[in-house]
């Protein structure tokens, strides 16, 4: 077990290292550099650009730039954000908790909802309910994240103004509210973006879990349970679900990239000040270091997600635990 954990940790570290190299290559295959893209302003003279390039070390030979890049990454430095006039680490550091909050609520919510839908479908397999739910999950599964977020935004803030238009808190009154009022204010702002992301993510969970349950049903132990005289409900809950939950842990790891990109669009549309919001706005201002920082942190999150899922899997599966 310890050996497995050590191996898996080393593997994750190697992946992050390769990601850093890939990102460096991505930056440097592009024509131009941050200063040709950021400063389209004709008033900025070539001399100023050269000075800036020298300041940021962009005039050095590539191998030297690479060493500097790796060195600063190793120290947790991601560069300077032009549009925020703060270091990228600070910008992303203050945005990250909001993204993690949104993602974790959606993660828990989508797995609970997805498994519930799958259980209902499998309990009534072949029925109208099953087919309808399959249709709905396929529809949600095919839904581009940003379009679904726009629709939910339009519906529940414009047409039926139930929820606030965006942000994490109400900027005018939040500071004057009591503690309970502040918590309520935060929750009110969280509900719609979190629900949107939850629904988007639950579709693949439901589809995956339904297939996993149907896979398990022909197994011998299910037949045994049925012969014991257990009701269909007991069989599903105690025998089928337990065995079909193991692959769910793998799915948690796999769902991270989708959850993260979903969060990017949801944050943009609901003005939720997380990492996605920062990075998407950085596209508009051509704040290249911030975008690259977002790519690196996003990839680290995904790697961590799959690492945690793998370790959980090893803990949950008795066949692996003994190793």
């Amino acid at each position: 077990m310890l050996r497995y954990i050590a191996q898996r940790l080393i593997q994750a570290a190697v992946i992050v290292a390769i990601v850093a190299v890939i990102t460096f290559v991505l930056i440097h295959i592009a024509p131009g550099d941050p200063f040709s893209a950021v400063m389209d302003n004709p008033n900025v003279s070539e001399a100023v650009r050269q000075t800036l390039r020298a300041q940021y070390g962009l005039d050095r030979p590539l191998p030297e730039q690479f060493v500097n890049y790796v060195n600063s990454l190793a120290h947790g430095e991601l560069g300077w954000s032009f549009s925020h006039e703060r270091s990228v680490r600070e910008v992303l550091g203050s945005a990250l908790p909001n993204t993690l909050l949104l993602m974790s609520v959606a993660l828990v919510g989508s797995f609970a909802l997805g498994i519930l839908i799958a259980l209902i479908q499998v309990a009534r397999r072949g029925s109208v309910t099953d087919h309808t739910l399959s249709g709905i999950t396929l529809f949600l599964f095919s839904m581009p994240d940003f379009w679904f977020a726009i629709l939910s935004f339009l519906t529940f803030t414009y047409w039926l103004p139930i929820f606030p238009v965006g942000g994490v808190v109400d900027p005018t009154v939040h500071d004057y509210l009591s503690l309970g009022g502040r918590i309520a204010d935060r929750l009110r702002h969280l509900v719609l973006p979190a629900l949107t992301l939850t629904l988007l993510a639950s579709a693949s969970v439901a589809r995956y879990q339904r297939a996993a349950l149907l896979d398990v049903l022909p197994a011998d132990y299910i037949r045994t349970a049925r012969l014991k005289g257990l009701t269909e409900r007991q069989i599903l809950r105690r025998h089928a679900l337990r065995n079909a939950l193991l692959p769910i842990i793998t799915l948690i790891g796999l769902s991270f990239p989708a959850l993260l990109t979903g969060a990017f669009f949801v944050e943009k549309i609901f003005a939720w000040p997380g990492m996605g919001y920062a990075v998407v706005n950085a596209i508009g201002t051509r704040d290249y270091p911030l975008v690259v920082g977002g790519v690196i942190i996003g990839s680290i999150l995904v790697t961590l997600g799959s690492l945690i899922a793998d370790l959980l899997y090893a803990l949950a599966d008795p066949r692996l635990r003994s190793h």
Binding site: L26, I27, P144, L154
Partner: protein, 297 residues
């Protein structure tokens, strides 16, 4: 005289006419009403794209009257309304169908080529090369595709649709190459491959004639899903303003045109989105049916 493998089938007498596995799969899925509906709808959407110049009521880039005809809600003259530049949204959606489908198909061809080649080489050669190639693949897979594309596209000050297609294609082959590698690895020592090798077939021939034909249905499933993914990604990037450049119309960039005033210009988000969801859904239905047909084989 060494045996010529290609003559082997011919010399063994008349062989019964065999349907290709793919043909069989297609015939099987067409029995399902849901796939028939999906196939029909997809056909209609493809026709809309192909016949765009014939059916679009207006020129998609024409700005007839930027003051009087802008931001009009849906009406008989403009069933999908007009945009802030007075362009007809229906015409733009029709032309957008053409562009979005083209980008989806072309980018997927790029992904298939790279993915099959990478997976086949890793699986067939094996050893250290395979290990290195797979670690590299792990790293590629841990960068979310959208983020990777944002990273590249922001660095590029100006880019054409062709470049967009290449980037979309080059970020879409990772899962496929893993499938191909797994299959090649599994089939490498199958009896028919050993037999072919014993008959003196070369590596390239074994790959092309013996291994890859066995992967066709999986590749087709991956391609179908791939097109759907590219359509969604292209729309997402265009919605962020770094996809298809203006004044060309794609589903995503029509939505982007109205994004600033999405509350008032709802028709600019709704109609292109409906086309997009319908397309992606039909592709997903067909992919699912194809992979079911493959598994039951």
């Amino acid at each position: 005289m060494p045996w010529q493998t290609q003559d082997f089938a011919a010399t063994s007498g008349p062989t019964p006419v065999r349907e290709s596995p793919l043909g069989l799969a297609v015939r099987r899925i067409m029995k399902k009403p849901s796939s028939r509906v999906a196939f029909f709808l997809l056909g209609v959407i493809v026709l809309v794209g192909l016949l765009a110049p014939l059916i679009a009521p207006y020129n998609p880039s024409a700005q007839p009257d930027i003051v009087l005809l802008k931001d009009l809600p849906p009406s008989f003259a403009h069933p999908f309304g007009t945009d802030p530049y007075s362009r007809d949204v229906l015409s733009r959606v029709i032309y957008g169908t053409r562009l979005s489908l083209t980008i989806g198909v072309l980018a997927t061809i790029v992904s298939l080529t790279v993915g099959v080649a990478y997976g086949a080489v890793a699986g067939y050669v094996g050893g250290v090369l395979d290990a290195v190639m797979m670690r590299l693949l792990d790293a590629f897979l841990s960068i979310p595709r959208l983020l990777m594309l944002i990273g590249v596209l922001v660095a590029w000050p100006d880019f054409s649709v062709a470049a967009l297609v290449v980037f979309l294609g080059l970020t879409g082959w990772f899962e496929l190459s893993r499938i191909v590698r797994g299959q090649v690895l599994a089939l490498k020592h199958a009896e028919f491959v050993t037999a072919a090798r014993a008959l003196g077939a070369r590596r390239r021939r074994i790959l092309w004639k013996h291994l890859l034909p066995n992967l066709v249905s999986q590749i087709v499933v991956a391609a179908t899903i791939g097109v759907a993914q590219v359509i969604v990604l292209e729309a997402g990037l265009s919605y962020l303003g770094i996809g298809v450049p203006q004044p060309m119309a794609s589903w995503g960039n029509i939505i982007w045109d109205g994004a600033d005033q999405v509350g008032t210009l709802w028709w600019m988000a709704l109609f292109p989105g409906l086309f997009m969801v319908l397309t992606v859904m039909t592709l997903n239905i067909l992919a699912e049916a194809l992979s079911d047909a493959h598994e039951r084989r």
